[in-house]
Structure formats: C-alpha cells, structure tokens
C-alpha cells in the first residue's frame, strides 16, 4: 500500500498531493478525487516555509542567502537567533521560482519532459521518469521490460552521484580535506560515466515516452558495471575511514535530529524518513526491484541520514549490476524491446506517475488533450525536505547549520520549480 507523501500525512491508505487549497487523494477504496483542504504548507508552497517568528531581547533575523559562499543556490534562510542557538527558521525559495509547471502547458510530450528535467538538474532523470510514467499512465501505454530496466539503471546512477555529492558536502563542512578531494574525484568520475553511457552528465535528454531518445547499447553495460564497481570500491574505502574519524562523526551525531513521528507528520520521504527507522521506499512497490534491501537507521540525525545514503550507494551499484545482467539475458533470449505504440501519443487522458528520487518520492499528475499537456502538477521531495530542515534545526547552534542542511538533500530549484 502506498503511504502518504503529502503534508496531510498519517493516512496509511492514501497518496496525497496538494495544489493550492486542494489536496489530491487516491486510494483503492474511493478512487481519485480532489478534496478541499486548508493546510498551511499548501498556502506557502510557492513562496517558502515560514515558522513561528520569534521576538524578544537580543533576538534578530540572520539572513543567509541568496548570495553567500556557504550555499551556492539562490535561496534564502532566515535564522532567528540571539547569537548562538537557532530559535526559528524560515526558508524563501522565491528567488528561484521559474513557473515551470505552467510553462509546460500546451507543449508536446517530449518537450514537456525537457521542462520536467529543468526543474532540478541533479534530479533530472527522476523528474523525467515520474512525468513519463504519468503520461504513459494517461495514455495507457505499456512499456517493454528492457526500457524498465534501462530506466532503473539511469535512476540508480542518479541516486549514486547525488548521495556521494551530499556526503562530500558533509565532509567538506567538517573540513575533512583529504576525504573531500577523493569524494569529489569519484563524483566527477560518476558524472563522466553518465555522459559516456547516456550522453549527458546529468542524464538529461535520454528518457522519452515509451522509449529512449537515443539508442542504448546494452553491450556497453558490461563496461558500465565494471567502472561503477571500481568507483564503489573507492567509495567504500573512504567511507570506512570516515566512520573512524571522531571529528567528523562528532559533528554529525545528534545534529538536526528528527524523530519518525515528526517526519511522517511533515510528509518527508526518502533517506530522511528512512533515517528515522521507517522502512518506506517507493521502490518496494516496484516488482522490478524485487529483493531490494531498504537501508534504514534509527537515530534520525545527520549521521543516520549519511549512513542511509552510503548504504544506498552500495545497494544501487548492485541493482545496476543486476539490471545489466537481466538486460543481457533478455537480449540473449531474443526478446525484442518493442517500439511502443506511437499512435497512442496523440490521445487524451489524465495520469499520475511516481518515482523514488535520491531525496524521496516524486510525483507528477498530468492531464493531456490530443497529445498536448493541458495541466501538470509536480510534488517534489525538497518541499518536504525544507520543512524537515526547519523543524530539525530548532534548538541547534549556528555551527550545526551546514551539517543539518546538507544532510537532507533538499534543493531550492526542486522546491521552487
């Protein structure tokens, strides 16, 4: 059963998304419907997240962003403090607002996928995949087993480089210079690997509706697995050393702690939720991921989130290796990938598509009219990630800020759209 991803949380039977003052629900009992709700986060969705502002002697608003050396993205944090302890956090991502959902209206399907990829460059494949699944669901298009496996390979590659990026950012915040250099080398090698096998460092422009935009050479997958295995070994060596560094562990342990009740109430998913001990991953619903080891941790702090991400790197590398083998078996058994039903692409309908992005569940709802987008709505994991950041930072001190923010893997581009 799909669990709540929406801010309403708590209802185990429903998937919830929100749009303006409405909430989209879908369940086996009642089907799909829009219901009206008044939820604070819904109202704040397009401007940012505002907590209860704190006033008093010596309390001031420390503004961090949109131009700062600490955070490269153009967004702003408002930290209410009296100088040391953080009393309230407001997040403003309006600097990055590009109205991408509305710009997709009227576009053809492949152009709409390009727009989805532009929401957040480092989650480009996740966005493209969720939207293509929504479109394929709307048009009742069946996709081939080969395509399902190729998509999983690309999705897991995206997870690997994003997780390594997050861990390198955490190491950088703790001044682990040697480790950071080596992690950055692995990170750059992963981006080059993406480019070599998918034609783009950030896996853009590869996914299509019921197919891929470029032919995929499954012979090359053998080399992909080998290169990825080598990078995974290098990462494992570094990670083991990192766990021995008391300096590093001390900065992450008990920093920005979020318990499972709070996490579920916020609606956060992905490594953040799994780091609180909740075994939830959309990939568990996918039969192609049979036997997935869902990494969890118990503490809910920055260290737990890093542990979950590291475990997921190893798991993703194994998944890619397995998928490569299965693709080879499909080819050897002579099963053709199938061209997909191109005539269905001019149809109308509505559909919903999901995918487990590196930072949590991503969902798209699309409505189509004669092969053009008439409505699109994206529920991105970073919105909930920022809400979790604001909750978990309360009571922490200023120097914990980078360890908290980086560990959640939330991005302004993803939230602002």
């Amino acid at each position: 059963m799909i669990r709540a991803v929406g801010i309403a949380g708590g209802d185990q039977d429903k998937l919830m998304l929100h749009d303006g003052k409405k909430v989209w629900t879908t369940s086996e009992k009642s089907g799909d419907e829009w219901i009206t709700g008044q939820l604070k986060l819904v109202a704040d969705r397009d401007t940012g997240i505002r907590g209860q502002e704190v006033f008093g002697d010596g309390v001031f608003d420390f503004r961090y962003g949109p131009v700062t050396g600490g955070i490269i993205e153009s967004g702003a944090y408002h930290l209410f403090t009296y100088g040391e302890r953080i009393l309230c956090v407001n997040v403003d991502w309006s600097y990055k607002r590009r109205n991408l959902e509305s710009s997709a209206i009227g576009l053809g399907l492949q152009d709409a996928l390009n727009v989805a990829e532009s929401v957040c460059g480092n989650f480009a494949f996740s966005h493209s995949l969720a939207m293509s699944r929504a479109i394929e669901s709307a048009l009742s298009i069946e996709i081939s087993p080969q395509l399902r496996k190729v998509r999983i390979i690309a999705l897991e590659l995206e997870r690997v480089y994003n997780h390594i990026y997050v861990i390198s950012q955490l190491a950088s915040a703790a001044a682990q210079k040697v480790m950071v250099s080596h992690l950055q080398a692995i990170y750059e090698d992963l981006l080059r690997l993406n480019n070599d096998f998918f034609g783009s460092r950030f896996l853009r422009g590869f996914n299509g509706i019921s197919g891929t935009t470029r032919p995929f050479n499954d012979e090359a997958l053998i080399h992909l697995s080998r290169r990825l295995g080598n990078l995974s070994d290098r990462f494992e060596y570094l990670y083991e050393r990192a766990l021995e560094s008391e300096n590093f562990m001390d900065r992450l342990h008990d920093t920005a702690t979020l318990d499972s009740d709070k996490a579920e109430k916020i609606g956060v998913t992905g490594p953040t939720l799994r780091a609180t001990g909740v075994r939830e991953d959309f990939r568990l619903q996918d039969p192609d991921y049979e036997g997935l080891r869902c990494a969890t941790s118990q503490m809910g702090d920055s260290l737990a989130r890093m542990e979950v991400r590291a475990e997921e790197v190893f798991e993703s590398v194994e998944i890619i290796s397995d998928m490569s083998g299965e693709l080879k078996e499909l080819r050897d058994s002579g099963i053709a990938p199938g061209a997909g039903n191109k005539s269905a692409l001019d149809g109308s309908g509505s559909g919903i598509g999901y995918c487990e992005s590196p930072s949590g569940l991503l969902a798209y709802i699309v409505e189509l009219q004669r092969g053009k987008i008439s409505s699109v709505y994206a529920a991105t994991p970073s919105i909930f990630g920022f809400k979790a950041i604001t909750e978990s930072l309360l009571g922490n001190i200023f120097t914990d800020f980078p360890f908290a923010v980086e560990s959640f893997g939330a991005y302004f581009a993803d939230a602002a759209r």
């Binding site: 153009s74 990055k96 607002r97 727009v115 480092n122 480009a124 040697v178």
Partner: protein, 160 residues
C-alpha cells in the same frame, strides 16, 4: 588500510589535458596572469551548473595549479561567474553583487543550451539586456567544467 597521506600519494588524479578553446577576448588585466579568484552566483539555473561548480573543484581538474581559486565573497573575487539565466527576482541581487566587485574585475555568463531555448528559465531576463559592465564572455553552449577552465585560462592570458 593505508595511512591517509600514503593513500593520497598513491593516487594520481590530476589529468593532463588541454583546455584550449577558440576565443578572441583579451585578458582583462595583466595582474590576473598568476592568480584568479572566482565567485559563482546562481541566478536561477536548474542546479546542474551549481553541481558542476563542485565538480570544477575535483582533483581531475586541479584548478589551483593554474592559480584559480574560489572566493567566499564577491568582494574578494576577480571574476564573477553568472550561472544560468536570471529570474526577475535575482536581477537586483545580481546587480548589487556586481556593484560589490572590486576593480579590475570581469564577468563571465554561463548558460546551457536549454536556457537559450527558454526551457530552463522561461520568462527569465536576457543577460545581454542587463548591460553588465566588463562582461567578457557569454558561454551559451555550456557542456562541462572544461569549458569554464578554458575561458578562465584565456582570461588569464594563459594557454596550457
């Protein structure tokens, strides 16, 4: 397990390659020949350019060997890297950042091909219309960090 420094010494990660690119703009000032401090500002890109800024610091490129360093604030920088096509709300922020740059300075604008097709930041402001001072390069077909290194080396008057 090897002791950290030995692990580091056993791995040669810096690549030996040429970053040359056909460019015609001259070095902004001879004082940049030996070192160049850069400050990237995200004005509304999809975040992949920001991720590539992190990649630019990878040992494969080892930009320090060319004397290129990241500055923490615009006031310590020689070159402002403008990443993406500005959203309306970032325009005044960008102009103020330019205002904070110490002279002599240069501005390099980097956009992806999708920016030019108005996909990445629809409704964004064309940087040419902002008439930024000292805009020495406008990369509109960005692919990878090597493109940035090539521009910066040209700016320094170096050909590697």
């Amino acid at each position: 397990m090897k002791w950290w420094p030995f692990y580091g010494l056993t791995r040669r990660l810096t690549e030996r390659t040429r970053y040359a690119k056909d460019m015609t703009f001259p070095s902004a000032s001879r004082i940049f020949r030996k070192s160049l401090h850069i400050y990237p500002i995200d004005v509304g890109n999809a975040n992949d350019l920001n991720f590539d800024m992190r990649a630019l610091q990878a040992p494969q490129y080892n930009i320090h060997r060319f004397g290129i360093f990241f500055a923490d604030v615009p006031r310590h920088a020689d070159v402002l890297l403008v990443l993406g096509r500005p959203t309306e709300k970032m325009v005044p922020v960008l102009l103020e950042t330019v205002n904070q740059m110490p002279g002599p300075y240069s501005i390099v604008s980097i956009e992806s091909e999708r920016d030019r097709r108005d996909i990445e930041s629809p409704g964004g402001v064309d940087i040419d219309n902002l008439q930024l001072p000292n805009l020495v390069a406008h990369i509109t077909d960005y692919h990878e960090p090597r493109d940035i290194i090539a521009v910066l080396l040209n700016l320094m008057g170096k050909v590697n």
